[in-house]
Symmetry: D2
Subunit: 159 residues, 4 copies
């Protein structure tokens, strides 16, 4: 666990309810994040958040879940470090704040708020079938999304 | 001040930096909100927030400003009830939470986050030259925007 | 409603469950705050918060309730300006932040957290049968407590 | 990093400014927490927070720092998982929320707010020269404090 705090953090945002296809994408995104040696940050609940965390754990990675409720027990089974906030939806701001780069997979208004906070905090935002708003760089595949994210987190690319 | 708590609340969201045209729109929106007897809620700072509050005060209305910082003194000069939060940008969630309906005037990512929270909390969102995202009902004029907002706040119309 | 924002704000903190005697004290405190022309700030719920707000309204004052939940409807019947926060107990910090001076009536751990935040934010804290901790100035009566609070809010006295 | 989320979490609270003696106690508390296999949670800044985290790292433990600001870079050098909140002092609530048990070392009003939140959230609070308030179990040594904390976290003892 040496130098955990110096590892890059990639946030994966997306809804708790989404289609099978997006869940697969999220899991693959999680796997690739872990393979690149980055930490996965997410909202800690179900759907995209759970599949991304599951993928990251399958690939031996580490996961942080920033939860809306006041109990760490509400985290999904693949979260290593659950952080309870008790802030409700306002915790979306903290998810964006704690990642170097965000990857948005599908997503409803919660995801839109996280995209907006990502941009407020100056974080690059990469999309996989998510909101088509200014400042989101759409990627064609999980592989491409994570490549972009890692490069941006390292400062090798400016998104 | 009888029954202050039963008055409708219209939130006006928009950036602290915007063009002259949008500032005029914001002021007119504020005036019309006050004339309809509703309370104006905003983020309490400059630009769209300030002009909307200024308009509301010109028309004898009441204004609430939900501030990012920890001091009520940071509110603009037209805020009757400044609320300090110390939450930084996470206070955007509280602006949306404390309005029955939102009117977005222009706006950058902060406004986008408030639109998103508005929809998360089930609040109708009306736009005047703002983000073109699903769920925002674009209005052609301040008059139309406030008419839509008041009707929606009363439950006379479903947006 | 002229110059609402320049009025002094006195926060009344205390538990939702307390004895009859403390409820009476809270109501009297609220009345006196209003008679001195100050605005009452509280947590917006029941018990001490409700009785203080009730007293303030009986004396023609104005009341602000900073609520833990995300709906203004949870405010007690005597709150003019309910502010929903969705922050749960973390909203205790905002109650202290939005008052110039605090008066604590009885109270459990929620009140203790508000006393602590009051001192963190440099606000004088006056007590009526509350926690006996450093920095709380115990008063013998509502009259004395409000006198001390008003003087401190005006800067006439340093507590 | 297996089963990280099932490990006990002990929060160490205390001020950023304190005497040399308390800094030593904090470091020893951190060491013992790590030796018992628990994760250390703290506010992530200097003083007691830093020495406790330093002790935990010296003993091979893991540390979480829940920060007031919006940048993880403000964490002290011994924090493995910095969590930025941007909540200012309101983050004190989250420190208490994310620990199973709290150990308070010395401390000013920030610590008092964390003690209060600990009790609000039903967490046992153990003290080392801290605030003498109801519900804080004073311990005579770091060894005793951590023993009490671990037992309480396991549910073996009720504080």
């Amino acid at each position: 666990m040496m130098n955990l705090s110096s590892k890059r953090r990639i946030g994966v945002i997306g809804g708790s309810r989404t289609g099978e296809e997006f869940l697969k994408l999220a899991r693959e995104v999680g796997r690739l994040i872990a393979r690149h040696g980055a930490i996965l940050v997410c909202g800690g609940l179900g759907g995209v958040m759970e599949e991304a965390a599951r993928g990251a754990k399958e690939a031996g990675g580490m996961t942080i879940g920033i939860l809306p409720g006041s109990r760490t027990a509400e985290a999904n089974a693949y979260i290593d470090v659950p952080i309870a906030t008790g802030l409700g939806y306002s915790r979306n701001s903290l998810v964006a704040m704690n990642a170097d780069v965000l990857i948005a997979v599908d997503g409803e208004y919660g995801t839109l708020s996280e995209i907006a906070f990502g941009k407020i905090y100056g974080k690059p935002v990469i999309g996989l079938g998510t909101w088509d708003v200014k400042g989101v760089v759409e990627a064609k595949s999980p592989r491409r999304a994570v490549k972009l994210a890692i490069d941006a987190a390292k400062g090798d690319a400016k998104l």
